[in-house]
């Protein structure tokens, strides 16, 4: 809502003898800024009473302002305006309150991650890195050795297998739901259970894969592919939901045009429907990958924990970036000198965030690049 017109210089003195009605009870322009300044001062005074800290000062000043400003506006302009200003200030305060931790998260990852981002981290594994190496590094007798190469390898292979399994299943299911099941009971129950799957906690998906392979291959069956199965369970509902949405917005005229030419249904779907929706489908798949690539919990219970490089998803333990971060923070390589482990963890976290952000950006670009013109939002 523009307030530009409020600032216009046009002034019209009301005709003599008439009481101005449109401008009654207006708060002076200085009122709110003065209260803001006063709130900062009072906040400082109150904070000094309790024991001064910047955070406390900011909180107290905000609280004083949130109480005083609406009360003042209410006194001058009436209760309705007071309520309106209270909600306005609350909305802005909530926004600031939400942004602070989020900035802190990103700042922490950047500040702690950038120093550890070196060729060691990217190109070496944790194989042979022991507490002694870290103690030496902490004492200044050498660089921080060890890296996340094996975790990057693990992330790539497990995500690859998960994508390979979930995308065809998800795509075909969505095609079934949109093109074949026209509101049948099977379609309805699939939709329902896909919704249920969306809500499965990720650790439960991990337990499922562990239980499945445990029954098949014995209780200690832990390797990359088990984790990929767990991630598939998490990925399928996202792929199905998104593809379904995209197929639904393909206009029916297109399908009918193809049918009218005597084209078979499966060819219509493959040559007309899917190409029309492909950008949306691709961007949805990318987002689904971005989501599962950061999953930690299912990997803890399925892929084990490795320090060495392992390209084989079907045998041997594997580590991914999230589990690498988790173990480096929770159980530092050298319990007495956790700093080298922390450094590796934050650098890995930075890599992980970058991967996720890049995938998100890629999804947006894909959606925009191939977006049909009229369907632009």
């Amino acid at each position: 809502m523009s307030t530009a017109s409020l600032r216009q210089p046009t002034s019209s003195p009301s005709p003599a003898g008439r009481r101005p009605t449109l401008t009654r009870n207006q708060k002076p322009k200085w009122l709110v800024p003065v209260i803001a300044v006063a709130a900062v001062v009072v906040g400082a005074a109150l904070a000094a009473l309790v024991g001064f800290s910047t955070a406390l000062w900011a909180v107290l000043a905000a609280v004083v302002f949130l109480v005083a400003a609406p009360v003042a506006v209410s006194a001058v302009e009436g209760r309705r305006k007071g309520a309106d200003s209270l909600m306005t200030y609350l909305v802005y305060a909530a926004f600031v309150l939400a942004v602070i931790p989020l900035i802190s998260v990103i700042w922490t990852v950047l500040a702690n991650g950038v120093p550890g981002l070196n060729s060691n981290l990217l190109l070496t594994s944790m194989n042979g890195v022991t507490g002694a190496t870290d103690n030496a590094a902490a004492a200044g007798d050498g660089p921080v050795l060890g890296g996340a190469y094996h975790a990057i390898v693990g992330t790539v292979s497990i995500t690859f297998w998960a994508t390979l399994m979930s995308v065809p299943i998800g795509l075909l299911t969505a095609i079934y739901l949109v093109e074949y099941s026209k509101g049948g009971w099977l379609g309805k129950s699939i939709t329902f259970f896909v919704d249920v799957m969306t809500g499965i906690p990720s650790i439960v998906a991990g337990l499922f894969a562990a239980a499945l392979f445990g029954l098949l291959l014995g209780p200690s069956a832990r390797f990359g592919f088990v984790a990929a199965v767990a991630l598939t369970v998490l990925m399928i509902p996202t792929v199905v939901k998104n593809t379904e949405e995209m197929l639904k917005i393909v206009p029916n005229e297109l399908r009918e045009a193809a049918y009218a030419l005597g084209v078979r249904k499966w060819r219509t779907i493959l040559k007309v429907v899917i190409p029309t929706a492909i950008s949306g489908i691709a961007s949805g798949v990318t987002l689904a990958i971005a989501r599962v690539i950061g999953e930690t919990a299912p990997l803890l219970v399925t892929a084990g924990f490795a320090t060495a490089i392992n390209w084989n998803s079907f045998s041997g333990w594997m580590t991914t970036l999230p589990t690498f971060i988790y173990y480096q923070i929770l159980t530092p390589t050298s319990p007495t000198n956790p700093d080298p482990s922390q450094q590796r963890a934050w650098a890995a976290a930075l890599i992980l965030i970058l991967i996720v952000m890049l995938l998100n950006l890629l999804a947006r670009l894909v959606a925009r690049a191939f977006a049909p013109k009229a369907a632009g939002r």
Binding site: M1, Q8, T10, P15, T21, K81
Partner: protein, 259 residues
């Protein structure tokens, strides 16, 4: 209960685009004034500037003066909320609040200002407003039913009842019949003729017969082409505009030669 409006050198912009150029006109109290003209000529835009509803549209702003009995709506320190409670508006499509009953819809504006209105006062106000909108007999038995259950024409009259319940000085109507069938349109037109006994009514319409039936004065707006601003071409008593216009453009338009 009703005031006159004087528009002085009003320009309306959407961002950098000048949508309405240099309009000056006087609208009498207790009269019906119709704005007519081809699509895109800025008549609805101008109507919205009369109660500052254009500010809801991002980037829209007005320069100039709109005087309500001599007081400038765009003067410094004027509160648009107060302006809108004095100048009511009825929209193109009926828009009763879907979650409220018929009764609550009528009272919606009133409850904003006085939280504690006594039950009997509220009943009187609901009955008075609905009668003022010629709707009372049709809905008196189902005041607690949702307003969205009414027909389109009834919904529009409910919106008029809602607008007059706050006792405004002026009622603005933006093509109030364009979404309605002929019978509902007739009901609204009858209502407009009654409303002018108490209110200043300004109505935008595409329908020239409607303008000639309901209005006392008519303003004709036109544009010279796409991207050009809309202008007030001619403004005068309705009979003159339709039978003996001074401008060639007006004559072409009212005789159906374009538009």
């Amino acid at each position: 209960m009703s005031k006159r409006i004087d528009v002085e050198n009003l320009n309306v912009y959407y961002g950098d685009f000048l949508a309405v150029e240099d309009v000056s006109m006087g609208i009498d109290a207790r009269s019906v004034t119709a704005f007519i003209g081809p699509s895109g000529c800025g008549k609805s835009t101008l109507l919205r500037t009369l109660n500052r509803m254009h500010e809801v549209i991002p980037g829209a702003r007005a320069e100039g003066k709109v005087l309500l009995d001599g007081e400038n709506l765009y003067g410094p320190g004027v509160d648009p909320v107060l302006v809108r409670s004095m100048i009511g508006m009825v929209f193109q499509r009926p828009n009763p609040f879907p979650t409220m009953s018929i009764r609550d819809n009528v009272l919606a504006g009133v409850k904003l200002n006085s939280k504690r209105i006594s039950r009997s006062d509220a009943d009187d106000l609901v009955e008075g407003s609905l009668q003022g909108a010629n709707l009372w007999n049709e809905v008196k038995d189902r005041l607690d039913k949702p307003g969205s259950g009414l027909s389109g024409g009834q919904q529009q009259r409910l919106c008029i009842a809602r607008a007059i319940a706050v006792k405004p000085e002026v009622i603005l109507m933006d093509e109030p019949c364009s979404a309605l069938d002929p019978i509902s349109t007739l009901a609204i037109e009858d209502l407009i003729s009654e409303l002018k006994e108490e209110y200043t009514v300004v109505i935008v319409t595409h329908n020239m017969q409607q303008a000639s039936r309901v209005s006392d004065r008519t303003a004709f707006f036109n544009i010279q082409g796409t991207g050009k601003p809309g202008k007030l071409i001619e403004y005068g008593p309705t009979a003159e505009i339709f039978s003996n216009p001074t401008e060639k453009q007006t004559e072409d338009y009212v005789s159906g030669r374009f538009g």
